[in-house]
């Protein structure tokens, strides 16, 4: 995200500490910041969640409306994910059409949800080929202090988990919970020099050269990945990222229940 400049002295400080296995805020390399969340905080949405990971904060809302299915999947509901990096969240975010950063963020979160089959889209069919439930997930960054990928994934997943299909409103029978099968959790490893860390804050994120987001399902199988940044990963580093995503994914799943 954004091309913010981090001062040399700050950069050196972070890198020197990492060399000793420490971080500026006292965390271990693979520690997440405190995760807080509140679900169903928006009554006008059909599902919502506000997630804080340290000082990074993001809100996700789900709206579910009837619509026409895609011709190639006549018996499946539609799932759409959007993300907005609004100017409120950070001075480097600008108003306007989606940037490539926000598109990538939305698509990586979307991939985890879609590929894990978290939402059972076949159960969103009302009349085959004519009418299905369309589920829109929209995420807005509110306060940005690094690691939007994992925070956004959590917000979207929690919003979906609590979502209710507003069938009564559209004369389609009784309201019912959105059919959810599993909890895809993403864990993004960031590479600073030759060190891998999890859940970076703003400064750490901006001196990192590469990141790898790995989304796992409840069984610890891989469902989605995305490498980003101008740096590279060796095979050994890749394996460490995969291990971290499985282990940390399990921990996070416990936290969010």
């Amino acid at each position: 995200m954004s091309n913010e400049v981090i001062s040399e002295i700050r950069r050196d400080h972070i890198i020197n500490l990492l060399g000793e296995g420490k971080r500026t805020d006292g965390r271990k390399l693979d520690d997440f910041r405190n995760i807080e969340f509140e679900t169903n905080c928006i009554e006008s949405a059909d599902g919502s969640a506000r997630v804080k990971v340290g000082k990074t904060e993001i809100i996700a809302g789900v709206k579910i409306v009837p619509g026409t299915p895609f011709p190639d999947t006549p018996n499946q509901g539609v799932l759409t994910t959007g993300a907005e990096l609004i100017p409120m969240a950070h001075p480097s975010f600008e108003a306007g059409p989606p940037t490539e950063d926000s598109i990538e963020l939305a698509r990586v979160v979307d991939r985890g949800i879609r590929e894990s089959k978290m939402v059972d889209v076949e159960k969103l069919c009302i009349t085959e080929g004519e009418k299905v439930w369309m589920c829109f997930i929209d995420m807005y960054a509110l306060d940005y202090d690094g690691n939007l990928f994992d925070a956004a994934n959590l917000a979207a997943v929690l919003a979906l988990k609590t979502a209710v299909i507003p069938a009564e409103q559209y004369g389609e029978g009784k309201n019912k919970p959105l059919p959810v099968t599993c909890m895809p959790i993403s864990v993004t490893s960031y590479k600073i020099g030759n060190t891998l860390i999890l859940d970076p804050n703003f400064d750490e994120e901006h001196i990192s050269c590469a990141r790898l987001t790995v989304t796992t399902d409840n069984k610890g199988n891989f469902r989605a990945m995305q490498k980003g940044g101008k740096g590279s990963f060796t095979l050994d580093e890749l394996n460490l990222c995969l291990d971290a995503s499985v282990a940390k994914g399990k921990e996070i799943r416990k936290i969010i229940g």
Binding site: N3, R107, L212, R223, G228, T234, L235, L242
Partner: protein, 249 residues
């Protein structure tokens, strides 16, 4: 990755619908220097994928606010022609092509010596003439040959190839049917001299063991593709020399 189909993608003998075995890639064809105006260009065919890449630059960076005073930036545009897929694709950038452009530029930036050209822009255009699964890999493969053809200093050229899973089997270089109806797809790009990974995506469902196997397969194919890339560049410049001789007499 819809994963629901009665279509048999791999038969009992382990043969795929296009006749390949699990660890066989499609035919590679690469030509360097295929366009006049571009500073560098390349044409790549991987199976039924047909891709053109062109490089302009280093040249003045527009828009100016994107200039970086310490190095060049790489701007990449990945674009699919309207007729490249079975249903007509609406022209212009969509969210998918914006994402692919971004990760392609980032992958290229890992090898280009951008620090040699402060404030400049190196513009990479990738046009997908015909798509049959694996276009981002074909596009990146073409782009790195085009960069080399443009004479831009690089640490190495990048080959890209995907592996995936269909009918429960790990397969190299998925074709369209395997991509649409299979279980997973893992495109990667590497720096062959160090085996570092500069592009990695994954979607679908894979265990650790399947993923490890897929990465190994894709890396092997990347090394084969690397030889074809180098060969294309050698051919391009050996032909030039012969043609240039009579002119100079």
């Amino acid at each position: 990755m819809s994963g629901h189909t009665d279509m048999v993608l791999v038969d009992k003998k382990g043969i795929r619908i296009d006749g390949r075995t699990a660890d066989e890639h499609r035919a590679f064809k690469i030509e360097a220097g295929v366009l006049n105006n571009a500073d560098g260009s390349a044409y790549v065919e991987i199976g039924k994928n047909k891709v053109l890449a062109a490089v302009y630059g280093p040249r003045e960076c527009h828009p100016r606010h994107l200039q970086n005073p310490s190095k060049a930036i790489i701007q990449c545009k990945y674009n699919m022609e309207a007729f490249s897929v079975s249903d007509r694709k609406r022209p212009g950038p969509d969210r998918r092509s914006i994402e692919i452009s971004k990760i392609t530029a980032e992958a290229l930036e890992s090898v280009v010596l951008t620090e040699l050209y402060p404030r400049a822009s190196i513009d990479v255009y990738i046009e997908i003439l015909q798509a049959n699964a694996g276009t981002r890999c074909a596009g990146l493969t073409a782009a790195s040959v085009a960069l080399a053809d443009a004479g831009i200093p690089m640490r190495d050229i990048i080959p890209a190839c995907a592996a995936g899973k269909a009918d429960g089997k790990v397969l190299l270089d998925l074709n369209k049917e395997e991509d649409n109806f299979g279980d997973a797809d893992v495109p990667i790009a590497i720096i062959p001299s160090t085996d570092e990974i500069v592009l990695l995506q994954m979607d679908g469902n894979m265990t650790r063991r399947e993923f490890d196997k897929a990465i190994k397969m894709a890396m092997g194919a990347c090394h084969e593709l690397y030889d074809v890339q180098k060969d294309a560049l050698k051919r391009r410049y050996s032909v030039d020399c012969k043609e240039a001789e009579p002119d100079e007499q």
